[in-house]
Symmetry: none
Subunit: 418 residues, 2 copies
Amino acid sequence: MRAVILAVGTELLGTDRLDSNSLRLTAALERHGVELRWKAVVGDIEPAIVAALGRALADAELVLVSGGLGPTSDDVTREATAAAVGRGLRSDPEVMATIARRFERMGLPMADSNRRQALIVEGAVALRNARGTAPGQRIDLDQRTIFLFPGVPQELDGLIADALLPWLGERCGAVARETVTLRVAGVPESEVEERVKPAYPEFGRESITILASVADVRVRATAEGPPAERHERLARMTERLADLLGDGLYSRREEDDLETVVGRLLRGLGRTVATAESCTGGLVAERLTRVAGSSDYFLGGAVAYSNAAKEAVLEVAPELLAEHGAVSEPVAAALASGARRRFGSDYAVGVTGIAGPGGGTPEKPVGTVHVAVAGPLATEHRRLRIPGDRERVRQYTSQVALEMLRRRLLADGAREAS
Amino acid sequence: MRAVILAVGTELLGTDRLDSNSLRLTAALERHGVELRWKAVVGDIEPAIVAALGRALADAELVLVSGGLGPTSDDVTREATAAAVGRGLRSDPEVMATIARRFERMGLPMADSNRRQALIVEGAVALRNARGTAPGQRIDLDQRTIFLFPGVPQELDGLIADALLPWLGERCGAVARETVTLRVAGVPESEVEERVKPAYPEFGRESITILASVADVRVRATAEGPPAERHERLARMTERLADLLGDGLYSRREEDDLETVVGRLLRGLGRTVATAESCTGGLVAERLTRVAGSSDYFLGGAVAYSNAAKEAVLEVAPELLAEHGAVSEPVAAALASGARRRFGSDYAVGVTGIAGPGGGTPEKPVGTVHVAVAGPLATEHRRLRIPGDRERVRQYTSQVALEMLRRRLLADGAREAS
């Protein structure tokens, strides 16, 4: 089976936005060995969408469209698709009722324009969208199938899982290609590449890819072929790569962020955590609490920007601030132990630093950050010099803080078990 | 003039890379008022490139192609373009000499494959590439023009500056198109559309676009034509749209996020702020402190997940928690006033709610959130029922909290001034 992906949206033809939805759709296609022929972006212009659909249907059996299902009059994917396949549109009463209930629940009046979101191409299957207003649609033609998806990424993800993957599974049989993602924190990308190099001749250079973001690296191992062979190969690759990556490896699952893994460790050990942050401004707490169920182990956090707040809320001694300055090892440690006391947690993270662009000095330039992790047995500290802008310094710091906490929890857990 | 952009490269059809070259080319087009009809990505497959070029030439007078000019045998853009326009390829002796000199300078032997990079479509103009081996090419057809560019971003940038912009300048005159972005919070997308509708007949439907993310909407007004006329028109559009959007409008600049605008108001009024968050887990503090210089007005925040933390850190009365539950109007208000006292700030935001997926009850389902803003004059409260997953509930809540704070600051500022 061959596929074409179309992204609809005039905003995607400007200078500041890329169609990242196609990556999500491509991942689904790859899982089932469907070849992507080409992909394109068209504006919210009916004849342009009609033309693109015609070309896509000429080249592929499967056409995946995202975007243009919103309520406003510039959302014309529904109309264009109906025109492209020579059918009409009808209002689906069930979809209409779902939309009405949604607005009722929110206590908002439904705008007339939302009625358009219940329009379905004649003969199409409406695909339930649990996270938004507009349903997806599947239009089966002779030898061809079109899927229409909303452009909002979370809604698209839901529909890929609920509608596209099951359909692909039925049509293309089981997964023909599988990937395992190894996630690594606190190791630079070039160092990760050096570490995994020995695996290239063993498994083939193209079956291993490395993808880096801020202080976080994904190593992806891919295997193809019949199930038994593929699983065996992937298991061998995973073991070998895990060995090579060493203690930076924090998960063997794509969907595990560092905060998820830290949360799992805390839950497993029956321990709790708190945070005290200056330059990260709440980012460490925000990441820890992104995880569903984090209220079981996250007790609370303080963002202490001013010295007064550091003293009043976290009982950092004024003399410490006066002697060493707010950005220092003793203050990071005092923030962590202050948070432990204040929130009554087993562990706490303390962060203080200069995220920039202002506030740097020759001795403490922008990017200077101190991170401390306090636990029942000890308090650890790291000093960082992080290059980059404010956002990067904050992101990098939060990653280091969580990684220090992860290693501390592993070490304490091992000690307890022994 | 209308244009189509094609990116060539099998690696751009995978799951981890996007065609960002098209953004650079689009910026050049926009500067000269050239309309981008669509853009597409095709693999390094000759017939696929030939087909895409045929479609592009059917839709536009200008076709910009990037990628596939490298020395290896999978780089076939040259061959495909020659086939698409029915011409041959010839080796350009001048280009060949330049390539040979380049290798000589680097002290490297020239691989045979590099000879392919001197191949030029018959009748094409070779465009000097100061930063790489392969030249660009301009192919003038009857009423149509094709540009071939290398895919390496720095080489592309050089050729845009040296070849594309001068050519566009000659053909289309000076810059011809400008955009103003109006940013709106706390108004649903469909309601924004209702509000701006009256402006469609006045300025043309296609000159106004609406772009929504979570509880945040951008309205973009675009004007074309000679400078004086264009500025005057854009000023009139901006005034009219601002009028229609009313009090939801928080900025007339694309780059202003809500936290930036709130920060500017706090700084202007010489006021400070603090936060007390439960379900948003630090997101409101994190957003406020993303802004450079926020330490001037942001004093601190608390993330009080447990009831014990709400009592200990923010002095929320235990009776209040027992009587109304943690997710209630009185507790949101107590969190806000507790943060005001604790951090000694003029204003404070209090948030409590159920982000899900667990924790919902029939009376207080997932998505139930209470937000309070306490100030020197009054404490305000809103109850929300937010549909969607944990991430959406948190993002939406933070947006509402910042928008309530913005309106409170505006009202207090106006009262002070009067």
